[in-house]
Symmetry: C2
Subunit: 466 residues, 2 copies
Amino acid sequence: MRTTRKLRYFLIAAATAFTLPAVAQQQAPSDSVIIRKLYSEALTSTESYENLRYLTKRIGARLSGSPQAAAAVEWTRQVMQRLDLDTVYLQPVMVPHWVRGDKEIGRVYNSKMIGNADMNIAALGASVGTGKQGLSAEVVEVQNFEELEKLGKKKVKGKIVFFNRPFDNTHVQTMASYSGAVDQRGGGPVAAARLGAAGVLVRSMANELQDVPHTGNTRYEDGVTKIPAAAISTNDAERLSSLLKEDPNLKFYMRMTSEMLPDVLSYNVIGELKGTEKPDEIIAVGGHLDSWDLGEGAHDDGTGCMQSIEVLRLFKELGIKPKRTVRAVLFMNEENGLRGGIKYAEVAKAKGEKHVAAIESDAGGFTPRGFSMEGSNAQLAKLKAWKPMLEPYGLSEYGMGHGGSDIGPLKGQGSVALIGYRPDSQRYFDYHHTSIDVFENVNRREMQLGAAGMASLVYLISEYGL
Amino acid sequence: MRTTRKLRYFLIAAATAFTLPAVAQQQAPSDSVIIRKLYSEALTSTESYENLRYLTKRIGARLSGSPQAAAAVEWTRQVMQRLDLDTVYLQPVMVPHWVRGDKEIGRVYNSKMIGNADMNIAALGASVGTGKQGLSAEVVEVQNFEELEKLGKKKVKGKIVFFNRPFDNTHVQTMASYSGAVDQRGGGPVAAARLGAAGVLVRSMANELQDVPHTGNTRYEDGVTKIPAAAISTNDAERLSSLLKEDPNLKFYMRMTSEMLPDVLSYNVIGELKGTEKPDEIIAVGGHLDSWDLGEGAHDDGTGCMQSIEVLRLFKELGIKPKRTVRAVLFMNEENGLRGGIKYAEVAKAKGEKHVAAIESDAGGFTPRGFSMEGSNAQLAKLKAWKPMLEPYGLSEYGMGHGGSDIGPLKGQGSVALIGYRPDSQRYFDYHHTSIDVFENVNRREMQLGAAGMASLVYLISEYGL
């Protein structure tokens, strides 16, 4: 796209939806004006983006129980305190403390193979290690649990089970591709161990062929042997699969020193602006402060946390005094335990708090698309009634759907609506749970538009309830 | 975002707009089924993305008149020929041949300054050089033409005029920010030369503070001295501005050996599928094959070209025989002359061709947002009537607005509707006209969704007209 001739075309566009949003007719102008102010401030202040830089570059990865997670708690507490909110406090919660240990080794031993024998693997969260000597075994490849069952104990015993069902790329929403594959990562180790397997490899949860493995939590069950489990990069999953076709008896060596340590005291970090008219009605907006240990937890979920803090900063900066209480909650331990979310809901219940809505941003700091809701039809209708004011800012999708993991435990407390902020999903699984989920892969404006959208919705709910 | 607990939430979402698009009720199911097939094929074939890789990595930057532009013409001709279309041909057109010459030098001479004196500059397209000895002069900074006029000849004569008005970041659409700043680049040299200036520096057209300069075309006028003009990176524009505040008499040295050579013969590359029922009614879909010389012309506009070819490949692959003729047009010389677009319209007029619609993709290979149209209200209404079928794929914005530079000259030929494919604009000016407009910054799925959206619209127009 070019220069000067184009200008006259843009002037044609200037009166349309493709440039500045017009003030919506359906609502009092003052709401639209306030929303426009929220966007202008969000798009021109570098504060939330620079905060993300600090969180990702100066603190970095912050898996629950790590020193970096503790640093993130203290730093975000200070950031919110500097905003001069009505309350900033820490909510204690005991969290699991899993550590990856040494960098994992994955290697193929195959007499017929020429070339690189090393494979990129990463221990799955919660996984036991292999012992320092590592594990060497033959590999059986399956696409799903049915295939595994058909193989039976005889063919699985002592082997490494390799779950290699790829993402279905025909889905428009990558979350749907993820949902269709992630059972392998969550349930693979238990299913394989029941048949006597020695270990598990799971194809990384990604749309692309990549060299980086994608970690993520797995789970064990009482009474089933805990066997070591690792993600393998999609490129190496493809390679391993071809090598197995050449030589079904090849051996795979994996070495992981990961282990689960005793629980650690950590915190949800909470900041609050008291409502001027209905202070007992709470709107929570949040993300999760913990992250996986491989990257910097930028899109997952540094952006969600910095956006949530930004909502409060925008209110303060613009002098907006919400009628209902607005609370930013940075949840601890979403990735491997959800203890923070559970604790938050427990405390809310014990205190008899009334949440009108809880909004979570935990799908990356990408360009906005809309909101998904777990709530009543009446609540969804109310949300959709605001669409004319928000659509000019790229928020065009409103439907029933996932609210958020951390806010999930609030479900059923009164009539709370759980709302997921939905950015565009196309790039999410390029970075998700990898070493490349880093600051450089977050676009400033995309993240800021998300914060402004969340702030706009919080503002509308604070004015009119939900 | 995490694992296993989340799965049940995704299942809730599975019945909603956030996962697979439902078949729209408003249209015959067969159209929705065909559109779904177009998307499934586009999202699972790597052909267009690998084609982009070849164009960007093996051919690279392809400014009009360059050997690489010639290579791009021949290669895309071969690519389309392999698709077994009804016709593939080259349409000759003479194009300007501007060359950048040596890497530019920009340097500040300031007795008070400590630190790096080098500044990142890039000659603007069409600019004359400085001569090999370079140009050294004092600098006057202005924000706009009014400020320049106020300075007058006395203060401008012999100086380098530094146009430093930044993008207005409050715009939601970055195209609007661009439109509000690009007059400096297009009109700066003539305005400055009229007051006797010796050279021009223009702040790069970018939303972000960056080190890379953004080139782009400028223009001269007969009877006004042609003075050398360069873009300066936004970071260095900020730095130069502060240095000028310290020392208004600092000198800037710029050296550019750019020059305009005689016109060169080049081509638009055209491939066609003949319509089965109304072969005389033409739907053109295109992008521009030339690019600036600094990067690889990935988003601008390799993606638009590869998407346009992909539209034809999708039709062939799925055995869709369009009722009206579908033509992919890869225009030459959009960036610095628009000769290809003008030639295409001239030839169409001379031949008495009837274009129903022309669709251009020249706003980057980003995630889809919608379409903008230069056409009648009735045509826009018809386009909007298809929204229910296209919205589930992220195409939610439909309005009057810019069609496309290359298709612009077709305006007024019969009732042709000019349609711009509109991807998300947030990241466009991070890369636009720079050394970092490279393959690595294009996401496969975002580009593919665009191609599928364009193919879907072409299919609907081929069935129902416009």
